[in-house]
């Protein structure tokens, strides 16, 4: 490895060192605050090191990794999201009895996994990143081990994720068997002459879609999502919904663009069906839920369906739309789960709709942030979600995916219904005037930290909603350099 290699891998190295340091610190003595500071600083340092790579162009570290504008943008997005989640986690875990310190190690590891995913250009690094991410997630989901449902969710995720990894591996093996290479570029070169995919290769791709689809929780591989979302601690749920899915989507885009999978009608058909099914099932099932975490779980299934619409556009604009929407979706999801985390108490998370009744009159600011997040998920103007949805629709209309676009529009209406229902519950009149807020016992400094994070997210949401040009410029600038 040369010095420039190190320089390009700096974000990953910083995180790795941080994990080691964190483990040593725990060996010396347990302190929640120190752990938190180490985590936050390492995320910030890793993010800062990205500025070195901002305009470096495409740099490959043979044979596994490629650092380009696309990768840099996704890593940056993942790091910032992880930073925000760690800020929310601090307040969340501070009020809990369990040992808190290891949580941060797992968080750092999972983030490394996601970062490796988005810069991988080889099946080996893809699988490596995916497994680092998944294995950390098993532990993270079951982290509050005294809670029955947390354990259940962890086991469920473990079994299903292992199963889907097996599918992915088998798929990779089949692709390898027919092309003789595991590098994305090599596969692209090997299949470039086929107009129709041979059966063996198609099976391989199909199995890979199963594995990837599971991680993205798209229909029909979505069964785990509601239970895991419900059982996992709120910050971990935010992590699964954002970083984990974002990383996997990043590698999916890279692989498909490189191989140019959009040439093959069979693959496009499969993904189209998956997208439509995800939108429909996610939104319709969300209508039936009374549990906020489950609603958000189904809504995230639907949102992945929306993302696939732009993905299926299969051109530069589609990739930009996916990326933009991901940014909006990250902000919104972290914000929404941040509110859930903030309202949670020692025993349980605030997940029933009842917990939110008349929230606006009890905690106006929190309720306002949550409303903004929900409206953004619904795609209402002045929020980032609106611009994102607009971008996706534009990408879809541009490539004339009329069926998908119309489905998206109809589904947005269904989605609106349940988001508005949560908002309506928050705006209801309080039943009894004297109802004191039982959850005001946090120490003020921690409270300020999470309120600060949420405020930051809300401001970002509105900023991108009102003035998307800045973000667009960054995305277009970085991704244009990455066009394979």
């Amino acid at each position: 490895m040369t010095l420039t290699d190190f320089q390009h891998l700096m974000p990953l190295l910083i995180l790795t060192v941080a994990v080691l340091v964190a483990m040593l610190v725990i060996a010396v003595g347990r302190n929640h605050k120190i752990m938190y500071v180490i985590t936050a600083v390492s995320f910030l340092a890793a993010f800062a090191s990205l500025f070195e790579l901002r305009d470096g162009g495409r740099y490959t570290i043979e044979p596994l990794l490629v650092v380009d504008g696309f990768g840099v943008f996704y890593i940056g997005m993942i790091l910032l999201t992880a930073l925000l989640i760690s800020m929310l986690s601090y307040a969340y875990f501070e009020q809990r009895e369990e040992r808190k310190e290891e949580y941060y190690i797992l968080l750092l590891l999972a983030t490394i996994g996601a970062c490796v995913l988005v810069i991988s250009k080889h099946f080996a690094s893809l699988f490596l990143g995916l497994e680092i991410l998944s294995v950390s997630l098993y532990a993270l989901i079951a982290y509050l081990r005294k809670r029955e449902r947390s354990d259940e969710a962890g086991i469920k995720y473990l079994i299903l994720a292992a199963f889907s990894s097996a599918f992915l591996l088998f798929g990779m093996a089949l692709v390898y068997a027919s092309t003789g290479t595991m590098e994305f570029a090599g596969i692209a070169a090997a299949i470039t002459n086929f107009t129709e995919l041979p059966l063996l290769l198609l099976t391989g791709f199909g199995m890979m879609i199963v594995g990837i689809g599971f991680k993205l929780s798209v229909v029909p591989f979505h069964m785990w999502a509601p239970d895991v979302y419900e059982g996992a601690p709120a910050p971990v749920t935010a992590f699964i919904a954002t970083v984990s899915k974002g990383g996997v989507l990043g590698v999916l885009i890279r692989f498909f663009m490189e191989v140019d999978g959009f040439r093959y009608p069979t693959l496009v058909l499969i993904l189209t069906i998956v997208a439509i099914a995800s939108m429909l099932a996610g939104n319709l099932l969300a209508l039936l839920q009374r549990n906020v975490k489950r609603i958000l779980a189904y809504s995230s299934i639907a949102h992945l369906g929306y993302l696939l619409v732009a993905f299926l556009a299969g051109n530069q604009m589609g990739v930009e739309a996916v990326t933009f929407y991901l940014v909006a979706y990250f902000i919104t999801t972290v914000g929404a789960f941040g509110v859930v985390a903030m309202l949670s108490d020692k025993e349980r998370d605030a997940e029933q709709l009842e917990d939110y009744r008349a929230l606006l009159w009890r905690r106006p600011w929190t309720a306002a942030v949550f409303t903004a997040m929900l409206l953004s998920l619904a795609g209402i103007p002045l929020t980032a979600g609106f611009v994102g949805k607009f971008y996706i629709l534009a990408a879809g209309v541009n490539t004339q995916l009329w069926l998908l676009v119309v489905m998206l529009a109809l589904n947005s209406v269904v989605g609106l219904f349940y988001y508005i229902r949560i908002v309506a519950v928050m705006f209801q009149q309080p039943e009894a005037e004297a109802e004191a807020d039982p959850r005001g016992k946090l120490r003020p400094s921690i409270y300020v930290a999470s309120v600060g994070t949420l405020t930051l997210l809300a401001l970002l949401l509105v900023y991108i909603g009102v003035y998307p040009s800045g973000l667009l410029q960054v995305i277009q600038g970085l991704i244009a350099t990455a066009a394979p």
């Binding site: 629709l393 109809l410 209406v413 609106l416």
Partner: protein
């Protein structure tokens, strides 16, 4: 820049009103009153100082600033006679809405006024914007605060009504968004210039099939908002459950955004497709007129009754819009204004009665003339306005609409006229049930106080003025109406002449000429335009 200020003042005023609620409970009211008063003043000033432009450049003020240049979106506002009139109406009704809430709204005053001002800001944006993306943006911006107005301060069944309102308008709005995007990409692929600018998109040439689909996308949003009969079912619920200010804004302004959209976007953008669709649209309009009138007659809930009269009156709007001639469109513009005033006033009276009686059921009312004569007189004036009595604004509006639509389609106009008779029946029923018959209450009904008179008298003055001397309004609207019709004066001649409006030949039917002379409002000129002044 002054146009931006109109929106900014309202939005900032809304924020201030919310914040000032922490200091004092009545402060938000004053903040809201001041900001709406300010924008009303500005608009009035614009009207009085700006000369009506000559034909060719209907635009009084324009403002454009790139917003998202990557997508060809600009923050582009423009004012012409039509938007000027709509803005005047918006702010006039906005002022009334603040005033009538003074006593009615007692909970969460600050947040109420925030929402009120933001609805007005959204509506202002819709009337001003000349960028289709921005138009959709404002179209949606006005929804959320309206949803809260209905959902928080409404009557018993408010949540259902708020949902219904929101989902109807949002779903139809999304279809419009798809149509906007379709237009954007078609225009972009033709010219290489990807832009949402209204003025650029006007020059798009569309294949008939594409034009038809895109037109239906736009129509979906506007017809639901207007509303036209099969899509009207959100309206009675929303109107009757909203607080008085909400009903007034809904009836007075939100419905008008639909009509405005038809005039501003559908007519000029899709000249051929609309001509094909016109008979059906006019039929829907006539069905709306009659259906609304019949349902209005059978209601017992006063606000619901007034809501159905809106359905009936909006039928005239769509009838007029799809007649494609200047008379009908002048009628439509007048109808938008006068309906906003007269229906708003009826909702305000319903609000006054509700404040006193805590019911909207007209079966429990009766004989109020004896104890509340002032309210009786005001009520009488607006009921008469609503049935189209000459001398009041609505008469001019409906008359012009019918004259225009007669030229386009004789039979449908005949049926539409039946609606006028039915309007008489339901309007008189309102009068009779509430103010006549025997008195049913134990204690006397308090008459209108000074604040309520302050609200009612300007409305009476306005409706009388519009009925007696509508010429300034017609003059203001005329250049922009001609602008909207430009495509038709050219294309209609080549097309199947559904609407025969020719530039030079007079097709005035003698019968109508005499009718016009009788009305003493305008004399027919050779080119079928309403002259600026008849003497």
């Amino acid at each position: 820049m002054i146009l931006v200020w109109l929106i900014v003042i309202l939005m900032v005023g809304g924020m201030l009103a919310w914040i000032s609620g922490k200091i004092n409970r009545t402060l938000p009211r004053w903040v809201a009153l001041a900001s709406v008063g300010a924008v009303f003043g500005i608009t009035l000033y614009l009207w009085l100082t700006n000369p009506i432009p000559v034909l060719g450049s209907a635009w009084l003020i324009q403002f454009a600033q790139p917003w998202i240049p990557q997508w060809g979106i600009s923050f582009s506002l423009a004012l012409d006679g039509l938007s000027l009139l709509m803005l005047l109406l918006t702010f006039f009704i906005g002022l009334l809405a603040v005033l009538i809430s003074w006593r009615e709204i007692q909970t969460k005053v600050a947040f109420f006024h925030f929402n009120l001002l933001w609805v007005l800001a959204g509506i202002t944006g819709v009337f001003l914007t000349m960028d289709l993306f921005l138009f959709y943006f404002f179209w949606e911006v006005m929804l959320i605060p309206m949803y809260f107005l209905i959902g928080i301060w409404g009557h018993e069944n408010r949540r259902y009504a708020a949902y219904k309102f929101f989902i109807f308008t949002q779903a139809s709005g999304l279809l419009m968004l798809l149509a906007i995007l379709g237009l954007y990409f078609i225009h972009g692929s033709q010219t290489g210039l990807y832009t949402f600018s209204y003025f650029e998109l006007l020059n798009t040439t569309l294949a008939p099939e594409a034009a038809r689909l895109l037109m239906f996308g736009f129509l979906a949003a506007f017809l639901v908002k207007l509303p036209v009969v099969p899509f009207h079912s959100w309206l009675p619920d929303a109107h009757s459950e909203a607080p008085t200010a909400g009903s007034v804004i809904l009836a007075g302004l939100l419905l008008k955004t639909g009509a405005y959209g038809l005039l501003r976007f559908v007519l000029p953008l899709f000249p051929t497709a609309t001509v094909e669709f016109a008979p059906w649209a006019m039929l829907l309009g006539v069905i709306g007129i009659i259906y609304g009138a019949i349902l209005a007659f059978s209601q017992t809930d006063l606000k619901r009754l007034v809501a159905y009269t809106s359905v009936s009156h909006m039928g005239f709007v769509i009838l007029g819009v799809f007649a494609f001639n200047e008379w009908a469109l002048q009628g439509v513009v007048m109808q938008m204004i006068t309906h906003g005033l007269s229906t708003g006033a009826l909702f305000i009276i319903a609000g006054f009665l509700y404040e006193r009686l805590h019911t909207r059921d007209i079966r429990q009312m009766g004989g109020f003339w004896s104890t509340a004569p002032k309210m009786g007189v005001i009520g009488l004036i607006f009921v008469m306005a609503s049935l189209g009595l000459p001398g009041l604004g609505n008469f001019i509006a409906e008359f012009l609409t019918l004259v225009g639509s007669w030229q386009a389609n004789n039979w449908l106009t005949v049926f539409a006229t039946i609606g006028l008779v039915m309007a008489t029946i339901y309007s008189l029923r309102i009068m009779q049930k509430i103010f006549f018959q025997e008195y049913k209450l134990e204690q006397p009904l308090p008459d209108m106080n000074a604040r309520e008179m302050l609200i009612a008298i300007p409305m009476v003055a306005m409706i009388l003025w519009l009925g007696l001397y509508p010429q300034p309004v017609l003059d203001t609207a005329r250049p922009s109406i001609q602008e909207q019709l430009q495509a038709y004066t050219k294309s209609v001649v080549e097309q199947e002449p559904i609407a025969r409006v020719d530039d030079n030949e007079t097709v005035t039917i003698p019968e109508k000429a005499t009718m016009l002379e009788k009305s003493k409002k305008a004399k027919p000129s050779s080119d079928l335009q309403i002259p600026k002044s008849s003497n």
